[in-house]
Amino acid sequence: MSRTIAEPFETVADGQDAGQPPYLYRDYRSTELRAPKRPLVILPHTLSELTGPAHGHESIVELDHDLTRQHDGEPLGERINVSGRVTDSAGRPVRSALIEIWQANAAGRYLHEVDQHPAPLDPNFSGAGRCLTDDNGRYSFVTVKPGAYPWRNHPNAWRPAHIHLSLFGRAFTNRLVTQMYFPGDPLFEFDPIFQSVRDPDARERLVCSFDYETTEPEWALGYRFDVVLGGPAETPMES
């Protein structure tokens, strides 16, 4: 029995989009054996690419968004409010999007067994939080500013201070995991993970801005970080 052989899909080679990091970026050594070498196959948008999970409020505990109030005492470090808006590439708010964050403490140490940086752990700081965006796509976290920390990618390698964010959009394939950096960090030029995004304007989209409006008198500095999710779900799907 013969079957019709359809035209092959179009493909896209690695590194074509200067606004996203390539898979292979040799200055970041761990990419060498993990980067796919074959072009990506461009998929038509079927329901598999246009749908995604709904995360409900039942999975969020009241203080999940406040990383400074998860223990008996207060963590050391500079208290900050981090807030912003999640939109799609058409500028529409993404509602009820689950955002999960994790970060080092103010001394640059993660509460993780793999992290051997000889900086102190903070018994009052776990460094993980979650929340859902509201109807306007807004979110907010309270945390402490993470410290920079060394890693072994190259001699005297240091990561600029950053907060990891994981976000779900309307469609699963819109899912984004990224890192938010702080303005004016002198480590930017030495960090291959930040520099892997070749377009300087796109790199700037990874940097939050100081926000006087969400700065609270005698309490905390405010930083704003807006996220734009890409992907195919230009038209929201019925559930």
Partner: protein, 167 residues
């Protein structure tokens, strides 16, 4: 149009933020129709990627995508092995063969990779699937039968590299 926010690697410490609760069992292991989907994430040297995370998105057994079912998340062990307890999805629409959507995140992956897993016991449906049937190396997307379920390795690089998609 606002430009999209760039991706950055999930790094080595993601279990801190992403594994507060278990999400690898979409169904009870003892429930009717439960199957285990497991496999390994392997790098270009064929070595396991122990610090990878695999996420799953799928239709239910009736072939419907629902907000309240079908998403899962698994870490990998020292052998690079992930594991889900789920049900085999039904066919979505007329033409699609049953499949899982998988995304893999890891240190060293500046962006996640997106792929699909198809089922070995669906030869006829697979032959007519509008995606699988148009891939030259679609065999990298078909799982193997395994005890109590299916086994599917994700090869990030090198011989037999898994087909990865852009959307």
């Amino acid at each position: 149009m606002p430009a999209t926010t760039p991706s950055q690697t999930v790094g080595p410490y993601f279990t801190l933020g992403l594994f507060a609760s278990r999400a690898d069992e979409l169904v009870e292991p003892t429930s009717a129709g439960a199957v285990r989907v497991t496999g390994r994430v392997l790098d270009g040297a064929g070595d396991p990627v122990p610090d990878a995370m695999v996420e799953l998105w799928q239709a239910d057994a009736g072939g419907r995508y629902r907000g309240d079912f079908g998403w899962g998340r698994s870490g990998c062990d020292a052998e690079g092995r992930f594991s889900f307890m789920t049900v085999k999805p039904g066919r979505v629409g007329g033409a699609d063969a049953p499949h899982l959507v998988l995304m893999v995140f890891a240190r060293g992956l500046l962006r996640a990779v997106l792929t699909r897993m198809y089922f070995p016991d669906e030869e006829e449906a697979n032959a007519g699937d509008p995606v699988l049937s148009r891939l030259e190396d679609g065999s990298t997307l078909v799982a193997r039968p395994a005890d109590g379920g299916y086994e599917f390795d994700v090869r990030l690089q090198g011989d037999g590299q898994t087909v990865f998609f852009a959307v």
